[in-house]
Amino acid sequence: MKKLSIKTRFRSVLRELKNRFNFTRKALKKKNKKQNEKQEKRNNKQKNKHVKVSNKPLWLEANNWVDNEIDPVLGITFLNRKNKRSRKISNKKKQHDVVLNLPSQMNFSSDNEKTIVVLSAIRKLVSVLSFYKGRTIPRKAYRLTSVNFDGLKEISTSTALVLTAEISKWDSTIRKNLQPRVENWDSKIYSQLSQLGFFDLFLNKPERPPNSNDVETNMSFVPYMRAISNDKRAATENKKTLKLNILELVDRDSIDKWTILHSALTEAITNVTHHAYDDSFKQDSKCWYLTGSFNRTTKVMKIAFYDQGLGIPATLPASKIWEKVVDYFAKSDKPKLERYQDAQLLEAAMKINRTSTDKNDRGKGLQDLLEFIRETGCGYLNILSLHGSYLCNISDGKESTKVQTLKKSLPGTLIMWSVTLK
């Protein structure tokens, strides 16, 4: 018997194995192909899972956010939840229908937390409706069915504008189906919101409640104006209309330094066109809103401008002035941890052009917002955007600024000018 070498033995074992298990190159290729296909399927499954996961958080996130805010500040009524009988009768889908109750006072000064929470709640719940537009909303998702104005007694000019903008967005989402029920509204609120043009939003206008004509309020609003961000003709018309309406309200032929305010509004509109909305927004939702008011007793004129975009602090890093902002922080003595908070970013955006001497000629527009109160010498400019609040107050020619981090984030950017007419 011939003794086999190790090499020969290995070869014969390999040949035997190939014969037994079809262990050929072709078979190997086939096997690999199958494995790849399996892996691909697994990956696709994972991807789909990811899509489902990223879909879920939108309504889940809104639900969780609402649940977190219910106890401290948010006034919410869940339809068919309190009453077990009605729950039995009702359709299962309606178990998560919610009514938002507006607080008695809404303003961005003394009651800013409550005010922002209510406005954010409308935005979040409407974004769920908008996301599932034309599709079935998940059964457990909170669905905004009504906003209750009955408890509202006082509302500031800027809040009225933001509230109108949010309700307008909601109305557009549900194809102009909203119908205001005003029977139990406070007469003053009804009167002020009528002046603001709030009811022009709706195809189904309410009947005027009795005695609402007789309400005497110190503060009068001008009808709000809305335009798509790149519609320049509408922008020009709206600025002219605002001027005419304000002149009528204050009963004067002219307002000192109005041209400077006009410039400020122009720059606010240009900023919205350039920065506020990215491609994730639909073209018809890239809007800005404008209104004004006059208090006959205090002679205070207020102008409010609002956009529902990403917010100034969020858009700064991608803007052409970001380098200036970074440079501003590098030269400032602000603690590093505080530097990139919304309020600090707002302040930086307002200050950079006064300190910068580089080649870049951007960022001058935000300074324009301040010029109106600087020129009048008495009044304030307040900018609220996300968690940031920037207030520049001028009294007797002395300028002071206050930067504040808001507990709650206001979606978008709100700019307010307030001056006392002489």
Partner: protein
């Protein structure tokens, strides 16, 4: 000496930086009015107050500062050829701004890339303003 009334010859609401900001923007004013007129005329008076609602900084910096920034003229050339006129005290504010932007601009610091074709394509700019007077002035009519 030619006098250009911005409110009557261009727009009563001049605003925006580029063509993409719509008709009556700073780039349009600079490229199609200011630059050709300053190139061919010895002196130009620009009236900034008549029939104008107000100006945004974006418009002013792009139109006046841009003349220097894109290397069309030096600061001295612009200052010697251009007179800014205003009939109302409110517009003194804008006159100061114009000179500030001219003085702050860095000569030939940015290559000019037109945004006109993009703006026309997207429908942001419609070329509504009649600027035929510019050629007439250049031709001496």
């Amino acid at each position: 000496m030619r006098k250009l009334y911005i409110g009557e010859c261009f727009s009563d609401d001049p605003s925006g930086r580029y063509y993409t900001d719509g008709d009556g923007n700073g780039e349009e004013f600079r490229e199609e009015i200011l630059k050709p007129l300053l190139k061919s005329l010895n002196h130009l008076i620009v009236n900034i107050s008549r029939n104008v609602e107000g100006y945004g900084s974006s418009f002013l910096v792009e139109s006046f500062g841009g003349l220097i920034k894109h290397g069309y003229f030096s600061k001295d050339e612009v200052l010697s050829k251009l007179t800014i006129e205003n009939e109302s005290e409110d517009y003194e504010f804008y006159k100061k701004k114009i000179f500030q932007y001219i003085n702050e601009a860095n000569y030939d610091s940015e290559k000019y890339i037109s945004s006109k074709s993009k703006a026309l394509k997207n429908g942001d700019y419609e070329n509504l303003i009649d600027k035929s007077f510019v050629q007439k002035w250049i031709d001496g009519r």
